[in-house]
């Protein structure tokens, strides 16, 4: 982990309140692994007190930049949204563990399940899977069409099928993305692994869908974080059978069986 002062190089808007921030951080771009995250801080008077956690969405190793996909939900993300190119952010990174992909071989098939801004960690993962010749299907869900606006960026990286679902039916099939996956699994699917990132209710039902199917899975979990590197003990998730795991250190990428989803808010 390093505390990196990085300049914002550009910003791309995908939908109202959903944008990508590109920052110059060559060492991070070269070294970060898919699934890892950064704690981002903004200097200045009217900043939030703590940093906020964001997955590294993608890197451009040639340009030495990293991309973060940000959904505006409160004061910290609004602060990032006000940044213009040339301004500086502080990136504590890389943090946490990474998705596993090194055990996959050419022709293996995997499923990626993304709920809304939970699509964030997947461009980098898709690049790695693509370079190994792994075929990845993307199941992308949201409440409404604008939640899927990032698909313009991610589609070219998807090597398999793309299936969308929205609660209101404004894009893809009406309903939940987890039901979409369940139907595909019913027909075999043949997946070596399922990767997922989204809100807690999505993880809860996905854990149920995958239960007993014998498919390995990795969830990119989220918990409110104070520090991001294992010292404040805020980001705990309940373990089956009692006790807690420290998600910024032992995760954020966790097997569904590592967490007692019924005890998660």
């Amino acid at each position: 982990m390093r505390d990196i002062k990085a300049r914002v190089t550009s910003r791309t808007d995908h939908a109202p309140g959903l944008f990508s921030l590109h920052c110059s951080a060559p060492d991070l771009a070269a070294g970060v692994r898919a699934g890892q995250f950064a704690m981002i801080g903004v200097e200045g008077r009217s900043r939030p007190f703590l940093r906020r956690a964001f997955s590294v969405a993608d890197v451009d190793r040639h340009a030495g930049t990293v991309e973060f996909l940000v959904k505006v939900v409160g004061v910290g993300t609004a602060c990032l949204s006000a940044l213009v190119p040339g301004e500086e952010v502080a990136l504590l990174a890389p943090l946490g563990n990474a998705f596993t992909a090194s055990d996959l071989a050419r022709g293996d098939r995997v499923a990626i399940v993304a709920g809304g801004v939970g699509v964030a960690p997947f461009p980098l993962l898709l690049r790695e899977l693509g370079s190994r010749g792994v075929v990845a299907d993307l199941f992308f869900g949201g409440r409404s069409a604008p939640d899927l606006a990032y698909r313009a960026k991610i589609s070219p990286l998807v090597t398999g099928a793309e299936k969308d679902a929205t609660d209101d039916g404004t894009a893809g099939e009406p309903g939940r993305v987890t039901d979409l996956l369940a139907r595909t699994l019913g027909g075999g699917g043949g997946y070596r692994r399922v990767y997922a990132c989204g809100p807690t209710p999505m993880f809860r039902s996905l854990a149920r869908v995958l239960d007993g199917k014998g498919i390995a899975a990795e969830f990119s979990t989220e918990a409110p974080m104070g520090c991001g590197f294992g010292v404040c003990l805020a980001c705990v998730l309940p373990k089956p059978g009692g006790g807690f795991l420290v998600s910024c250190q032992e995760g954020p990428i966790l097997a569904p069986s590592a967490v007692d989803w019924s005890r998660c808010r």
Binding site: F49, P224, V231, C232, L233, C235, V236, G242
Partner: protein, 304 residues
């Protein structure tokens, strides 16, 4: 840093510089090895340790508040056995000056921990947390009455020769009386302050934002309260060495606490936002003192 400008003494405690890091905000120290040299800071205080490993409270455990945060971690920790076996030797090898922050549900537990830690190689002292607002038993119970404080500190004092720091509760009805009680019972140094009991509620649902209900408020929001308390205790007990704590982020905050009577300071919540802050404060204080040819110890208690 060993610049002679910066060394301070707090009773039996000798520090190379007055910048330490506060319990619960610095993990077991080793987490920071990537961003700072652990031997460069005056001292570090471990997460609050108990006899047995402790699970802590259910999440959510923190929430941000204006210029600070509320927490109710509930003293999750690895227990003293693991600390002594796995953490302390590495800290000693890294040249860190280590104080173990300890807590228990009962007096006997504090005594047993203090005994177990006594003479541990690489341990500079023990800090008694009698002021945690985030556990149902223990913690703050001892800090809330001068009688309970005196009884506990007296028993721990008998059990160990290690330098004994007692961390006072800003939630105590009479801080000066608690300070007097702790000193009278043998505390070498007093730390003040721990977090203030606070609360935040979701306006939509009316539910508390952290699962414990209330939490401890820390960060710059509490700094003026903490400065006032250090000043107050220093006026009442001028001979008691004090460790000032509360919302310290910058060099001017350090100077402020020293001016009102703190011989050293502990940086807390700021470590979350800026893990390198403590080492940077040492460098900044060094430069500040060198520029004025003034020793850090001469900065203590200048405020009337």
């Amino acid at each position: 840093m060993t610049s002679s400008y910066l060394s301070v003494a707090l009773g039996p405690v000798r520090l190379a510089n007055p910048i330490a890091t506060a319990s619960g905000t610095f993990g077991y120290g080793l987490e920071f090895a990537d961003v700072l040299d652990l031997s460069s800071i005056g001292a570090l205080f471990t997460k609050g340790l108990s006899l047995q490993p402790h699970e802590g409270n259910a999440p959510p455990r923190i929430c941000e508040t204006p210029s600070g945060m509320l927490n109710a971690i509930g003293l999750q920790n690895v227990g003293i056995e693991t600390f002594l076996r796995e953490k302390l030797p590495l800290l000693a090898a890294a040249g860190a000056t280590v104080f173990a922050n300890i807590w228990g549900d009962e007096e006997e537990e504090y005594v047993e921990i203090a005994r177990a830690l006594s003479g541990a190689p690489g341990l500079a002292g023990i800090e008694l947390n009698i002021s945690c607002p985030n556990v149902r038993k223990g913690g703050m119970l001892f800090g809330n009455s001068p009688e309970a404080t005196a009884s506990l500190v007296g028993k721990v004092r008998k059990a160990t020769d290690a330098p004994l720091v007692v961390k006072l509760s800003p939630n105590a009805p009479d801080l000066v009386e608690s300070a007097r009680a702790a000193r009278g019972a043998g505390a070498d140094v007093l730390s003040l302050v721990n977090t203030f009991v606070g609360m935040a509620v979701d306006p939509e649902t009316g539910a508390p934002r952290i699962s414990f209900g209330t939490g401890g408020l820390s960060g710059p929001a509490i700094r003026p309260l903490a400065v006032r308390m250090v000043h107050q205790v220093h006026r009442a007990l001028p001979d008691a060495p004090l460790w000032g704590i509360g919302g310290i982020e910058t060099l001017s905050d350090v100077l402020e606490f020293m001016a009102v009577g703190a011989s050293a300071v502990q940086v807390g919540t700021a470590n979350f936002r800026d893990p390198g802050v403590s080492a940077r404060l040492v460098r900044e204080l060094d430069a500040w003192c060198a520029e004025r040819s003034i020793a850090a110890r001469d900065l203590i208690g200048r405020t009337p």
